[in-house]
């Protein structure tokens, strides 16, 4: 069989588009020699590895928007069991809040993420847009959560380790406890520490993931290996390519968000849009490539959004108009250079 016909037949087989005659034909060919079998297996590997990465959160969010437009009930619909029995036991309102949070996060977990739900009672905290929020965990560790980031953590740590789950960005100051390693789960990475200070940036939809170590020692594990960091080092992954880098990091740039600063050092607007969106709770839409590739050198120190947009207009030559929470940007002039 010609190589082209063969490859196409295999691809159609893997796409489940072949007839039973074709399947028989392919099976015969594969059985003819170890080389044929190897060719088939290699193409199968390529096929499986090229699967479109699932984005359950983004797809679910898009689905909710469509359902809202169609006035359909949105998922998930938390079951509302009669609360009579519960009401008798609950003396204080904050206990009720904790149970509802647990119910919502458990449903979200099973519907969208299919992560194993831990046996401990986990709480979920999501920081609103605007200011970073500090959380104190049961072991005394302090977590500063960036705006619109989310941490799932147990009310009490039990067992041989302390596990928390991060979506977004946070700075951790972890209490030392040699008996119980502290582990941060963020996507495919697990950052393990004994007691130390570090920043984890794992924002859904961002182009980069990073763990930056300020003090102490951490080990980051992913599916393929372990990486050790020393203070001043950062492990960074480019989401699009999957490449991982270890390098020194600029403390000011990486940690500025904790004091509500935004620091941009010659970065493209498209790459920093995420930070602006989270900080101000808005969505940025770029009109074209030229707009998306405008480069910024700026430090914004706790500025309100209109000031930031004004600076972008002046220094970046960007015009904008705002409709509610959406800001439309378009480059209209060459950037002014700093005097």
């Amino acid at each position: 069989m010609e190589q082209e016909d063969l490859y196409l037949l295999i691809a159609r087989y893997l796409a489940r588009q072949t007839s039973s005659d074709e399947n028989a034909q392919l099976a015969t060919w594969v059985a003819q020699s170890p080389e044929n079998e190897r060719t088939f297996e290699q193409l199968k590997t390529v096929w499986q590895a090229s699967q479109l990465p699932a984005t359950p959160a983004a797809t679910a969010a898009a689905l909710r928007r469509v359902q809202a437009r169609l006035a359909l009930p949105t998922v998930p619909e938390p079951a509302a069991p009669p609360m009579r029995g519960w009401r008798l036991r609950l003396a204080r309102p904050y206990q009720l809040a904790a149970i509802l949070v647990l119910l919502v996060s458990a449903l979200a977990g099973t519907y969208f993420y299919a992560r194993p739900v831990p046996a401990l009672a986990y709480q979920v905290y999501r920081a609103p847009a605007g200011q970073p929020q500090r959380l104190r965990l049961a072991d005394g560790s302090v977590v500063t959560l960036a705006p619109q980031s989310q941490l799932r953590y147990p009310a009490r740590f039990a067992g041989a380790s302390r596990e928390v789950y991060l979506e977004g960005e946070a700075f951790f100051e972890v209490s030392k406890d040699p008996r119980r390693p502290f582990r941060v789960h963020s996507g495919a990475w697990v950052t393990q520490v004994l007691g130390t200070k570090f920043n984890v940036s794992a924002v859904p939809g961002a182009r980069q993931l990073a763990v930056s170590l300020v003090e102490g020692k951490v080990q980051v594990t992913d599916r393929q290996g372990k990486y050790l960091l020393t203070p001043g080092q950062q492990l960074r992954a480019d989401v699009a390519t999957g490449r991982i880098y270890r390098q020194a990091f600029d403390h000011h740039q990486v940690l500025a968000w904790r004091s509500n600063q935004l620091v941009f050092k010659n970065e493209k607007l498209a790459d920093v849009a995420n930070q602006l969106e989270r900080r101000y709770g808005v969505k940025l839409v770029f009109a074209d490539t030229a707009t998306a590739e405008v480069r910024l050198w700026a430090t914004f120190d706790n500025e309100p959004l209109p000031r930031v947009l004004g600076a972008l207009r002046q220094a970046g030559g960007l015009a904008y108009h705002r409709e509610g929470q959406v800001i439309y940007l378009r480059r209209v002039a060459a950037q002014t250079t700093n005097d």
């Binding site: 691809a11 290996g225 490449r243 991982i244 770029f286």
Partner: protein, 202 residues
């Protein structure tokens, strides 16, 4: 009330006609990522245009759920609907369609500030293959993704892209050959878990 995602086209259409919301959710969840990716190749800017176009297609499908005229596969129907919506938008904006028969430069992350010896590994095989797919010429990549993500047949792809079936087959073959030979030339060994050393692929 759940609806199995792997139901057949007929089952989906029957359930939708009856107003089954779970079927609509399953349809959305199954096809949205691939459709969005396809829409992005047609509508790059403004940056929310692709999402909007796909969302509109699904809204229309629900609104007309009792009268859907699907000749052929559901996948092809959806991709074609997205194409039409994208073309409508482009006409509204009076923009010219990006001519994707030209080989556009593939987007590379800005690496000016990152040294090559800091590059440690690819996180996983799918990332490496994803990287290779990005290196394909635009049209070849598009054909590959329509076949892989959307499950469209070669005939359906030819119809959607308005090119010949032979063209589709050539693109598909080129993509497979490139991916397979580059992946295995780089020392990937499916039997062993080890760090991959990055070779310059250009």
């Amino acid at each position: 009330m759940t609806f199995p995602i792997s139901s057949s086209d007929k089952q989906y259409l029957a359930a939708l006609a009856l107003g089954n919301e779970a079927a609509f959710e399953a349809l959305f969840t199954r096809y949205y990522p691939g459709l969005l990716r396809y829409a992005h190749t047609l509508l790059r800017y403004p940056t929310d245009a692709a999402e909007d176009a796909v969302a509109e297609v699904f809204c229309t499908i629900w609104a007309h759920r009792t009268q859907l005229a699907v000749a052929g596969s559901l996948a092809a129907y959806l991709y074609t609907a997205v194409k039409h919506r994208a073309f409508d938008r482009l006409r509204e904006q009076r923009r010219t369609l990006l001519d994707i028969t030209d080989e556009l430069p593939t987007t590379q992350p800005d690496e000016a500030h990152l040294q090559p010896d800091h590059l440690l590994a690819f996180q996983e095989l799918s990332a490496q293959v994803g990287h290779l797919i990005e290196q394909l010429p635009e049209r070849t990549r598009q054909v590959f993704q329509l076949h892989r993500d959307g499950g469209l047949t070669y005939e359906e792809i030819a119809g959607l892209l308005a090119i010949s079936i032979n063209s589709v087959k050539t693109h598909m073959f080129r993509a497979l050959r490139f991916l397979k030979s580059t992946l295995y030339a780089s020392g990937y060994n499916s039997g062993v878990t080890r760090r991959l050393r990055l070779l310059s692929l250009r």
